[in-house]
Amino acid sequence: QQQVKQSPQSLIVQKGGISIINCAYENTAFDYFPWYQQFPGKGPALLIAIRPDVSEKKEGRFTISFNKSAKQFSLHIMDSQPGDSATYFCAASYGYTSGSRLTFGEGTQLTVNP
């Protein structure tokens, strides 16, 4: 059962453009929604995260928008740069205990053309 669905699978954007990746979740118990960035040959690294008590969080060029009623959240990358080319994963989890686990979306391959 895929609890976090991510789209699009791949995305090509021109330098300076806005990249938008969307995720939808099913489990209303989820209370933590991070985005991870993965470069080839490397492990995923936390980019930005949000909790459902806010509708938006911004860190530099990266913004998460969160819609609790629609059970959706998205990553916006402003002024996209070639160095942003990577695979992006949304994820969700609930309950900060030793048994909590992150459920990942399928990933989005972002290519930013110069």
């Binding site: 991070p34 040959g41 492990g43 995923p44 995260a49 695979t87 030793s98 048994g99 992150l102 990942f104």
Partner: protein, 111 residues
């Protein structure tokens, strides 16, 4: 000074062999994980340990056996390797605010 280090980086082996992947974290975290990333890059949790105790054991063939000798180490042993085991295996540890720190992965190729 790598926070989460796993070895080897690449592992090429024949079907039926037994192999191990080692993972160490120097972050002082209590909780560690093994994730499997398939050819489509989908990340799926396999196991989780908290302070040497097995907490999460997803539906993984019992050919896969994790072992945690102490809270800084979580190794993965795989018996009787099959073609379908080919993937990238990531070790991770969990820090404050649920942030996961991943190793750089072990690319396993079963021939």
């Amino acid at each position: 000074d790598t926070a989460v280090s796993q070895t080897p980086k690449y592992l090429v082996t024949q079907m039926g062999n037994d192999k191990s992947i080692k993972c160490e974290q120097n972050l002082g975290h209590d909780t560690m994980y093994w994730y499997k990333q398939d050819s489509k890059k989908f990340l799926k949790i396999m196991f989780s340990y908290n302070n040497k105790e097995l907490i999460i054991n997803e539906t993984v063939p019992n050919r896969f056996s994790p072992k945690s000798p102490d809270k800084a180490h979580l190794n993965l042993h795989i018996n009787s390797l099959e073609l379908g085991d080919s993937a990238v295996y990531f070790c991770a540890s969990r820090g404050a605010n649920e942030k996961l720190f991943f190793g750089s992965g072990t690319q396993l190729s079963v021939l």
